[in-house]
């Protein structure tokens, strides 16, 4: 299997994640979509790293995974906060910045 197969797979998963981010009403659902997208990126990183014989991509993947953890923690905290203040977890109910 060549590099392009991995990249294609990652692209598919990224697109699916993007779709989820754009369409999910629930904030947690959006977070899940983001996880998918990040995951696709990780696949890309590892694939490139492996096919170019350079370990940097893998290191970055480690970083990415760690940061994702932080992001999820914060994201969920925000969701809970949102829930407390607005009684909703629906992202499209939150439009304070409406023009």
């Amino acid at each position: 299997m060549g590099l392009s197969a991995y990249l294609a797979l990652a692209a598919v998963i990224f697109s699916i994640g993007l779709f989820g981010v754009m369409t999910r009403r629930n904030a947690v659902g959006i977070l899940l979509g983001i996880e998918l997208m990040l995951n696709a990126v990780n696949i890309n990183l590892v694939a490139f790293s492996r096919f170019h014989g350079d370990v940097t991509g893998m290191v970055l993947t480690v970083f990415a995974i760690c940061i994702t953890v932080a992001e999820v923690a914060l994201g969920l905290a925000i969701v809970i906060l949102l829930f407390r203040t607005r009684r909703t977890a629906m992202a499209d109910h939150v439009d304070w910045l409406k023009g």
């Binding site: 754009m22 999910r24 959006i30 992202a91 499209d92 939150v94 409406k98 023009g99």
Partner: protein, 611 residues
């Protein structure tokens, strides 16, 4: 010497205008002003003597508007035969009027008197500057300044609505003429390259002034003269100008300022001679004005308005003479008229001051109470009526001779009719004021019996009466070299016409052989027309209200609602556009993600194309 003539009044003006306590003190200010006027008169006499002796014009100019060639316009003085004698008239009448005003305005509060003399000094300066102007620019400057003084003095009692309205009306009407004058000056400058009277005269004499387009120029200049000298239809302001104090009417609206138009045409006669069509117009309008104003004067009951219409009429005479090509005759009448009309106004002022009304039907039988006033007024009246031995006879005869010699039969007949009416309406005033029993007993509003005016007012009257007589007798004896020999039948005819007018007035108002009412009715529709002043006023009001104000309102509306409206529509569209665009800012984060995604897709699409 000439500078003294100009500098004295302006110094007095500045002194009184700038030193407020002096101005507010009233009578001291008046004394300073009179002293100044006396000095000016003295200087004017000396100037006259000097010019007479030198027998050559004295001119001196300073640069006023510099340009790259040195001077675009200058100011200075030009004292020649005409201007020297004219400043004599101006300073004399001005001096006498200032003395007279001291008595006439004695009831006014001190600051008002001070203000009055400020205006008087400014007027004296401007009028003298006008007369002595060596060029058209200075003439125009002073021309406007005398107009300003006229405006200020007519509106002297500005708290009276009619006075402030009359002041504005006078300014506007003369200004309309001045627009013409200004255009004329500008055009003439382009035409000849100079403003200077001397140069213009030389050029005209040498045939260097092109005749093409000159008629327009002279016509424009004539417009200015017509406005100032109250020629039909721009005469409407002069009767209303009687709202000012009577001495002012005597000085400005009879003897000096209103004659400025005539003076201008006399000055420019050499130029007008090149445009006979315009001269013809001047003559016909002049004659028409003379007759029309005489008719209107018969229909007035206000003594000052009678005199005002009479002034308009006499100005018409002068203009006709100029139009006929005999400017000197017009100028001569200007001088004699200046003296006796000032006399008449001041006499009328004495009467008004004594009885407290302007209405001749409320007067009557004043001859016994005010004998001196009656005598001087009679002198003036006889002079105006053109009775031999009096100043007016000569000048009027000269005008008639000139018009006849100019071949203008129509204007000649009109002037003759005017002369008849002049005698009639003036003696109507004399009889109604001084002789017959008052028709309305309530006239004497002062609460005490009317009596002759005090010394300050009496002295000027006697001086002017004497001057009238002197001029009349002097010239009768030393008949001046006339430009035209009058036909032998003219003097008797003119005298006969005048006496006829007097007789009719005597029969109607003194003996009451002829019923005044039926006489008036006999004139038929003319009476109605006269009562309305030929509707000239109404025509002007219609133009002002109907055309100008409507146009202004229209333009104002267009400006606010179209020009500015379009701007505001653009602005409103921008605001609504912003409002519309605002709605795409939903505040929902996913919509933004959608947009970002679409954007990324677009960028990728573009990248793909470049691969």
């Amino acid at each position: 010497m000439m500078l003294t003539v100009l500098l004295t009044p302006i110094t007095v003006f500045l002194l009184l205008a700038l030193v407020a306590p002096l101005r507010r003190s009233g009578r001291p200010a008046a004394f300073i002003s009179i002293l100044g006027a006396l000095g000016t008169f003295g200087a004017a006499v000396q100037t006259w003597v000097l010019v007479d002796r030198l027998d050559a014009p004295i001119q001196r100019v300073w640069t006023w508007l510099p340009d790259s060639q040195g001077a675009l316009a200058t100011v200075g003085y030009l004292a020649d035969e005409q201007s020297a004698i004219m400043i004599l008239l101006v300073t004399l009448v001005s001096l006498l009027v200032q003395i007279y005003s001291l008595g006439y305005l004695s009831d006014e509060p001190a600051p008002a008197i001070g203000r009055y003399y400020v205006y008087q000094s400014l007027f004296a300066f401007s009028m003298l500057g006008l007369v002595l102007a060596p060029n058209l620019v200075q003439l125009f400057i002073c021309w406007e300044l005398v107009g300003l003084c006229s405006y200020l003095l007519i509106g002297f009692w500005y708290k009276k609505p009619s006075a402030s309205r009359a002041a504005v009306k006078a300014f506007w009407t003369t200004k309309a003429g001045d627009v013409g004058l200004l255009i004329g000056i500008v055009l003439l400058w382009r035409h000849t390259g100079t403003f200077d009277f001397g140069e213009l005269q030389q050029m005209a004499g040498a045939g260097l002034v092109g005749v093409d387009g000159l008629a327009l120029i002279t016509f424009c200049i004539y417009l200015g003269a017509a406005g100032k000298s109250a020629q039909f239809p721009l005469h409407i302001w002069l009767p209303d100008a009687m709202e000012g104090p009577t001495p002012v009417s005597a000085l400005i609206h009879a003897a000096t300022m209103v004659t400025a138009g005539v003076y201008l045409l006399v000055r420019m006669a050499f130029l007008f001679a090149l445009t006979p069509d315009v001269l013809l117009l001047v003559a016909w309008v002049g004659a028409g004005t003379a007759l029309m104003a005489a008719i209107l004067a018969c229909a007035q009951n206000d003594i000052k308005r009678v005199l005002a219409y009479s002034t308009v009429s006499q100005l018409g005479y002068m203009m006709t003479a100029i139009g006929a090509g005999f400017a000197s005759a017009g100028f001569f009448h200007l001088l004699t008229h200046g003296v006796f009309k000032a006399l008449l106004f001041l006499g009328a002022g004495a009467v008004i001051h004594a009885v407290g009304t302007n209405d001749i039907t409320h007067m009557g039988g004043l001859a016994r109470r005010m004998p001196q006033t009656m005598i001087v007024f009679l002198v003036g009246t006889l002079s105006l009526a053109g009775v031999p031995l009096f100043a007016g006879f000569l000048s009027k005869e000269e005008i008639l001779a000139g018009v006849w010699a100019g071949g203008l039969t129509g204007p000649f007949v009109m002037l003759l009719m005017g002369a008849f009416l002049t005698a009639f309406y003036m003696f109507r005033v004399v009889f109604l004021t001084f002789f017959v029993k008052p028709a309305h007993a309530s006239g004497h509003g002062h609460g005490h019996a009317p009596h002759d005016a005090p010394m300050t007012m009496g002295l000027p009257l006697w001086v002017l009466a004497a001057a009238s007589m002197t001029i009349g007798i002097y010239f009768m004896l030393h008949h001046p070299a006339e430009a035209v020999e009058a036909p032998g039948w003219l003097a008797p005819v003119a005298t006969g016409v005048a006496l006829g007018g007097i007789a009719l007035a005597w029969a109607t108002f003194q003996r009451q052989i002829i019923n005044a009412e039926s006489l008036a009715r006999a004139t038929g529709p003319l009476r109605t027309v006269a009562a309305h002043g030929f509707w000239v006023d109404e025509a002007f009001v219609a133009v002002y209200r109907g055309i100008l104000m409507t146009l202004a309102a229209l333009v104002g509306w267009v400006d606010r609602y179209i020009v500015d409206g379009v701007l505001n529509v653009i602005s409103a569209w921008t605001v609504s556009g912003g409002d519309g665009l605002r709605r795409i800012q939903t505040g929902k984060v996913q919509d933004y993600v959608l947009a970002v995604g679409a954007g990324v897709v677009a960028i990728l699409w573009w990248l793909r194309g470049t691969m």
